[in-house]
Amino acid sequence: MSEFNKNNKVNNAVNSSPVYDDARKFFANALADLGEKNRDVLYISCDSSLGASGAEFNKKFPERHFEFGIAEQNAMGEAAGFAISGKIPFIAAYLPFVAYRCFEQVRDDVCKTNLNVNIMGNNCGFSVSALGATHTVLEDVAVMRALPNLTIFSPCDGPEYYQAVFAAAQIKGPVFIRVHRVKSRRIHKEGFKFEPGKGEILRPGTDITLVSCSSMVANTLDAADMLSVKGIDAEVINISTLKPIDRQLINQSSQKTKKVVTVEEHSVVGGLGGAVAEVLICESPVRMKMIGINDLFAVVGDYSQLIDYYGLSPEKIAGSVMDFLKTF
């Protein structure tokens, strides 16, 4: 029995009346707005245009929307061909299809050439877990992070999603954006400025560093609230650019707290935890714990069931952190 349960959750001051963002709507609006400003922006879909991130763009600029059907290898090669012709393509589809099916096209045609191809991987993590393990994506960060030249964004709320689209177009090389389907609690206030490559301290603390991204940022903030009730002052960091990762921020925080826990809706093999560990082990070694999915294909269930089952609810994150602290 965990020492944390929903009853001892405290109110998060920032989110006393929380807003929940649908990432796909922010993407859709961002792409349409970007397309308005930049005539070179194209949208490429693989039978993925309706209801997905490009719907608004397609309405406004049908001549710049290219549908390539259920054929992602071709679509990714076409994206590269457009980019080397001076266009700025955004290609969006279900994450496993747009990242894994055409992985070699991503590697050879997009990353090796360092072209401005922007890949939107829809439905990361347990977004559509009811569809089963083929559609549940728990290893994309590990796979994509190994590619040279590729920038990886993993936004946590609407404002980050919106600005990540503009940032991706500005970055000369390729960008992979992980898009979560489950509505995310708004973390950022109005006026927030997304900076590629920069992490951010969402909650300063001195006892332990909790590093998170995407869907797990809100849960980690809630876990930190629960820990504060127990007298533990946790620092919470949002890493919305997984590559290149903000080494400076991770080093600074870990040197202060001497303990780091990473939290991700992703495998503990090669994901956020791996990326943070790669920094710390070389530059400022401290003990770490990685909270995530333990190298397995997930069972089928609805989102909240799976988050709880795999230990990613705020209560379970707080419990895992407490267990880790007891080992010191």
């Binding site: 071709n74 090669g77 012709s85 266009k87 045609d109």
Partner: protein, 286 residues
Amino acid sequence: MPELTPEETKILLEKSYKCRQNILQMMRNAEGHIGGAFSSLDIITVLYNKILRHDPKNPKWPNRDRFILSAGHKCLALYAVLAEQGYFEEDVLYTYGSFKTKVAMHPEEKLLAGIEFPTGSLGHGLPVGHAMALAAKLDGLDYKVYVMLGDGECAEGSVWEAAMSAGHYASDNLVAIVDLNGLQVNGATTEIMDSSPIEKKFKAFGWAVESIDGHDFGQIYRSLAEVPLKKQKPTCIVANTTKCKGLDFAEGKFQYHHWHCEPDKIDEAINIVKSAQNKELENVRI
């Protein structure tokens, strides 16, 4: 109907065979994919001398025609022709096999002027080329995109994804040239994975298709000078060729897909190529 004069044919033939000799000189340094280079060389020679709208002094000219060698391992042929066309000094060819050479065993666009897109892994060129063709139409430019494929390469599913896409978009500024030499690394294409009938397959995907003898300069020129063969359809030229054409002991043998020639045998191979050239020239009546 566009025709080459006998003088033009003679010049093309001499250039193509000079390229074969230069390729053999390159292979003093290292082994290479000579089989596909020699089967595709006559076509690439005609393309750069007679068909492509291009300027070696301005290789990034926006309205240039594009050539992508999707079967990137045939790049010895492309290097030799690009050097002959003046994209770079011939000396660059002879750095083949050396550390950080610009003429690698698969072509890299960042290393060498005239390479439109890097290739190596098969099945990548047609998707990229098709997007270049779509981009031309978006930009109101009238350049054409030529993509050379191998018949072994046609086992890759991405070739047919792209073929379907180009047919769907009616991209008549795209030309696929299949260097059908009938052989791949491990044997006859019909035995490894039968990609025939290539013509019927491309037709079924909405392309206009013509079959030619890929070593007959007149036929190569006539077919390529008339593309698109049909409005609103991408064009596929199926070029029947001989692997390792011009090196008689290796012609039509899959073992010469990739060949390591002992350095002391290079001169002998060059002499064989010269003899083949003379024999071919006898057939050109001026």
